[in-house]
Every structure is written in structure tokens, then in C-alpha cells.
Amino acid sequence: MTAVIEVSGLTRHYGKVKAVQDVSFQVEEGSICGLLGRNGAGKTTVMRLITGQAFASAGNIRVFGENPVENAEVLARTCFVRESQIYPDSFRGKHVLRAAAHLFPNWDADYAARLVDEFRVPLDRRMKKMSRGQRSAVGVIVGLASRAELTLLDEPYAGLDAVARQLFYDHLLADYSENPRTIILSTHLIDEASKLLNHVLVVDGGELLIDAEAEDLRGTAVTLVGGHSAVEQFAAGRETLGWDSVGGISSVTLTGLSDADKAAALAAGLELAPVSLQQLIVSRTRGTIQPEEATS
């Protein structure tokens, strides 16, 4: 399968601050790739570098096989939508959609109109005067209706309530099924989006922490719950992601357990609880936590 995006050794620093450090990955054509991480981890910077809007300090970026910077052919096939998008003061919703219609060759005006109805966007209102959710909705509409081969959505649903978010996911999935393209979705609401993702990239402090298929990540971590000594014994020598204790009960989150290990844990009387993708990533980006002394 062809790689739509190939990034190697990507670095971006502002003076002493290293926003992105030596990041390398590939994104395959037609995949929905989650770009996950905490605020300030470097997700937006990576997206700006991929779209040629920011300039790399070092490293190589290839989008559709070419350097995206000032590359009109590549950029015509790309759409980058973010909450922080600046709009001219006087711009109303309809102006934004008109500009988008001119900039994106695959723009579907009918689809955009339907989305405007569904998300209830007041097109005649100025962007400045819209609520955060309405602004996000405009961004989502641009991102979806552009039908760009490579679509990057940076936290596209800031300000959208849970109902509107579900609407967004459903529309994203439906349109992606009908019109496959490569999508990069950055979000901190990992569990909500996790089922849609093929590929997961986790960024932390400017570095790439995890680069894996979603299905491979799922189920790699497990939480064992039981008596403190039993848990401690089982966890000895293994990579722990988190500890918790209450009374004589402890829980530890571990990765890399084989089926045999899991069976052994069960036999030892421990309970196994699944670890969601969000929990997994939160633990990995928080650093390991040491067990506290049991009180009884």
C-alpha cells in the first residue's frame, strides 16, 4: 500500500523549545490515523509541518511523494481544518464555505448544504460572533465537504456537545465509507474516536511515543486486581503502567501479557479488567507510577 505521508527525522524547534523532536512515521493511503497526545505535545505542529504551513528545522516530509512546502499540486489535494483557524473579521459562515468551494477541487456543495442543516450553522452570522461549537461545525463542514484526498482534522469538535460529536463521527464514517480518503484526526477524546481509527500515533513532549495499528494496541494492556501481595508478586519484573491501592486490594496495569500469563493470573485468583485505548495512552504519557506501601 502506498504511503501518503512519509516523515523522517522531523524536528521543529523555537529557540530552546523543541516542539517536535526527531519524529518519523508513515501514513498509509486510505487509513484513518489518530494523532493523539496531551495538549502541547506537538500534534498541531506536526500537522502544520505536514501541510507546509510551518517550516521544519530538520528532517524530511513527503506528502504524495513530494515536499509539501509551497507545493500547489500537493496542497490542492489536502485539507487542514483546526479550531484555531483565523478568519477575516468581516467573514461570515457563507464566505468561508464559498472560499472553500473555490480552493478544494472535489468540493461537494450539496453535501455541504446538508451538513449545514444537520449541524444548524447560522451561515449569515460572522465567524467572530459564532459560538465555539458553531465555529467548529463550520470547520467540520469544510473538512468533510472538501473530499480532499488527505484530510487533517485538528481537534475539530471543540465546543461541540456529545450529540453533535456523535453526529460528526457518524458523518465522518459514512462519507469515508462512500468516498475513501486518508484522514488524520487529532484528538484528546481518545475513547470516543478509537473505534474509527486504523492507525495510532501518540506524541508526547514532541516525541513519537507510539506508532501502531489500533487493533494491535487494543488488548495489549490489562489491569489485574486482587490482594496486594498477589498482585505485587505477579507484577514483579514486568512493565507496569499504573498502580492503585485501596485497603488490601491493589490494581496494576501491565502490558505484554500473553494468553498463558493471563490464564496464570486468573488461576492465582486475580481479576482481569480490560484497559481502554484512552487509559493505555494516558498511562504511557504519564510515566510509570510506583506502588505505595500497603496499609494493612
Binding site: Y169, L173, S177, K195, L196, A214, E215, R218, G219, V275
Partner: protein
């Protein structure tokens, strides 16, 4: 949807259960990839992976230009496979739990008999 296991496995298992309980008969069409994906709100590639798993196991087959269908004899094969796994999946934990409570095998048999008789 279970957090702990790959989704494509869960999709496959769900389809298998539907075949076993008869809600999806042999030689009938299985929902399309896009429909499955939309229904479960998952990535279509994941749905495809689950379907392919069943195709490889001979449970489903593809009719070009139309879609995926339940293969003949699929139900039988699934029932056989699950019966084999039944011991590990259900019996072993049952016995372990019974032992933990001090229930003897005879008591367990009587309990099973009572339950099955209803």
C-alpha cells in the same frame, strides 16, 4: 464492544453467534462492510478484517459483484468448533468457581441437571 479485545474478532464472533442461533441462515447475504461499520461505528477496514477472518475459516464466501454470503454447512462447523471450546471457556471456570466455594462435583452435577431440566 469490549475494550480488551481486537474489534475485528468481536465482529467475527458476533456474526458467528448470529449464524449459530439461526438469525442468519446459510446462503443468505451478510450485511455489507459499510453497513457493518456504520452500525458498530467502527472503521470499515476493521469490519473487513473480521469478515475476512470468517471467509478464511470457510464460514462466509464471496459472490462477485453481490457480496458476502453464509456458506453451506457453516452452522454445523461453528457449532462443532464452539463445542470443542466449550470445555475451556465455560466448564473450567465453572469448576474453578465451584471449588472455591466448596461445591462438590456431585452437587455441581445435580445443579446442572436441575437447571437443564427447566
Amino acid at each position: 464492544m469490549d475494550d480488551g479485545r481486537p474489534i475485528f474478532l468481536q465482529i467475527a464472533e458476533q456474526l458467528e453467534s448470529q449464524i449459530i442461533d439461526g438469525s442468519m441462515r446459510e446462503e443468505t447475504q451478510v450485511p455489507s462492510i459499510n453497513d457493518l461499520a456504520a452500525f458498530h461505528r467502527i472503521n470499515p477496514a476493521t469490519a473487513l478484517k473480521g469478515i475476512n477472518l470468517l471467509v478464511d475459516a470457510g464460514i462466509l464466501y464471496k459472490r462477485r459483484g453481490i457480496g458476502m454470503f453464509v456458506a453451506e454447512g457453516a452452522r454445523q462447523r461453528l457449532v462443532a468448533a464452539r463445542t470443542e471450546a466449550f470445555q475451556d471457556q465455560y466448564v473450567r471456570p465453572l469448576v474453578a468457581q465451584a471449588n472455591a466455594l466448596g461445591i462438590t462435583p456431585e452437587q455441581l452435577s445435580r445443579m446442572i441437571g436441575k437447571e437443564a431440566g427447566q
